[in-house]
């Protein structure tokens, strides 16, 4: 295997480079769509048995958990049970080196009776955050997904209510497996508007039918009236012929009414078909394996102007954006805030484990209030520590979110700015992801180590020595 690949990997790199050139030349650019909260997957992708929608960052988080579970099972199976020294293989050795190195590193910082607990938390957080961060480097993540019109809710001051509007920008269409292209030909109709149009077509058809029936009834009545006034014959013949007339006229008026009804519905069907013929979608475009998927026909697309006149028809076109199936989990505040909360709560747990209930005198230190002239300062310092622990949650979560979200935007922008050579920025993101994961986990370990130390007792000890 190895000898086969020797010296041949460069051709893979060359092939990828040529593919990059081809895509940069062939595929028109789209404006990347940037949204801070995780995007909801479309209607129908709920968490089972609930109404809660799945976000694409949740998908990434689940993938990270599954990967970690796989690693855990793999390492547990490959570990030599007899403590043998024989290295069981490259991938396993990588983990062994990682654990050994970090164990030494953390041992230097937080070695002590609580080392195992601190190291477990450190390594868990490190691996989760590291895998989440490095997912931004995987091709297809953040770029391949559903195609949907870009709408947002906007407050309308005139009517005092929120309404869904479409935003300015480019339109893109669905290509092979969700890869997007610019397409400038459709006015978007939302699924609700489409249903309303169907509804009103039915109403219009019923109205046309009723009008046709009314017309026919009036005509029939007029004909009977004419017949009654024209013919001055005897009652028997008049009655008989009138009934015959009435029967034939009922038949024709039903035909006319049905024809009017069908005409209106046929016009509506033709309108819908015309939209489909231009590759225009309603709502969310179907994926290739779903019903209603229609492959894109490039010959039907038109160029779109860079700066359309706002009053023109072009400006009404809707930007179609990619809603990625998977978006990096650490670009969502929910993920980072959760890990930060777990970390800070575990810091308190380690503190209580090490110092007992006396750990909380760190926050509420009233013991010196009446003994020492500076007792009030101790109380204030304790309260500051309490606020500081809440600030830790904020700083943990926003540091990771900011670094990874900015990195995701950087990769977006650079992929469009230098479509052929965005590699240096991927290398940068590789290091940023690793360093942010290490910083997150290391800070947790350091705070845990600090929580196990009782400053209170040290002070009294120092006092005793001084006296």
């Amino acid at each position: 295997m190895n000898s086969f690949w020797n010296g041949k990997r460069r051709y893979i790199a060359l092939l990828l480079f040529l593919a990059g050139v081809f895509v940069a030349l062939e595929v028109p650019p789209v404006i990347p769509f940037i949204q801070l909260p995780g995007e909801n997957l479309p209607e129908g992708y709920n968490i089972p048995f609930t109404d809660m929608r799945i976000t694409n960052t949740l998908v990434a988080a689940v993938i990270v958990w599954l990967l970690l579970l796989l690693f855990l099972v793999y390492i547990a199976r490959r570990r030599p049970s007899d403590g043998g020294e024989v290295p069981p293989g490259g991938f396993y050795n990588m983990f062994e080196a990682l654990f050994e190195g970090l164990m030494g590193f953390i041992g230097g910082i937080a070695g002590g009776p609580h080392f195992r607990l601190i190291f477990n938390m450190f390594m868990t957080i490190f691996l989760i955050v590291l895998l989440s961060n490095w997912m931004s480097l995987v091709p297809g993540i953040d770029t391949v997904g559903f195609i949907h019109p870009h709408t947002k809710e906007k407050f309308d001051p005139a009517t005092q209510e929120y309404k869904v509007i479409t935003t300015d920008g480019f339109e893109i269409y669905q290509g092979f497996l969700g890869i997007s292209y610019v397409n400038g030909q459709c006015n978007w109709i939302s699924p609700a508007d489409e249903a309303a149009a169907d509804e009103s077509a039915l109403v219009a058809a019923a109205a046309a039918k009723a009008a046709a029936e009314q017309d026919a009834l009036v005509a029939a009545a007029y004909a009977r009236y004419q017949a009654a006034h024209d013919g001055h014959g005897d009652d028997a013949t008049e009655g008989g012929s009138g009934a015959d007339d009435h029967a034939t006229e009922t038949a024709t008026e039903t035909d006319e009414a049905t024809a009017a009804y069908d005409d209106v519905l046929a016009a509506r069907t033709a309108e819908k078909q015309a939209r489909r013929d231009r590759s225009c979608y309603t709502g969310v475009a179907a994926a290739p394996w779903q019903d209603g998927y229609e492959p894109y026909d490039k010959s039907k697309a038109k160029d779109i102007p860079m700066h359309p006149d706002p009053s023109s028809d072009e400006a009404k076109r809707v930007p179609w954006v990619v809603l990625p199936w998977v978006r990096v989990a650490s670009t969502d505040l929910n993920m980072t805030l959760t890990i930060a909360l777990i970390a800070v709560v575990m810091v308190q747990v380690v503190g209580v484990k090490a110092l007992g209930i006396g750990y909380f005198t760190k926050f509420f230190n009233f013991s010196t209030l009446f003994k020492s002239p500076l007792g009030g300062i101790d109380v204030a310092v304790g309260l500051l520590e309490l606020i500081g622990d809440f600030a830790k949650v904020l700083s943990f979560s926003f540091r990771l979110l900011g670094a990874m979200f900015a990195g995701a935007i950087l990769l977006f922008v650079m992929s469009f700015l230098v479509p052929i050579l965005p590699w240096p920025f991927f290398i940068l993101e590789f290091f940023v992801g690793a360093i942010q994961a290490l910083v997150f986990a290391l800070l947790t370990a350091i705070f845990m180590q600090l929580a196990t130390i009782s400053h209170h007792h040290d002070d009294e000890h120092d006092h005793a020595e001084a006296h």
């Binding site: 949204q35 926003f398 670094a403 935007i409 290490l438 910083v439």
Partner: protein, 80 residues
């Protein structure tokens, strides 16, 4: 003035002002890397230790700039 244009103007100015905070991070990174390079020059044997601590310090200093970045990102992409 068009209210929409006013909103865009305010968002752009606010996001730009928020990024002034990144200057502090830059100064901090410069100071810590400068100190680390001096230390590495004086005793090259301790380069790995110094480098590790330098990268950690740089990451902490960078965090301040990242907070500013988060504020400006929120102004740009979350505020309506």
């Amino acid at each position: 003035m068009d209210p929409q244009a006013t909103i865009v103007l305010g968002k752009a100015i606010g996001a730009g002002l928020a990024m002034i905070g990144a200057a502090g991070g830059g100064i901090g990174i410069g100071l810590s890397v400068g100190g680390a390079v001096q230390a590495m020059g004086r005793n090259p044997d301790h380069t790995p230790t110094i480098q590790t601590n330098m990268i950690l310090g740089v990451a902490f200093a960078e965090a301040v700039a990242i907070y500013a970045l988060v504020v400006s990102l929120i102004i740009l992409f979350v505020l309506n």
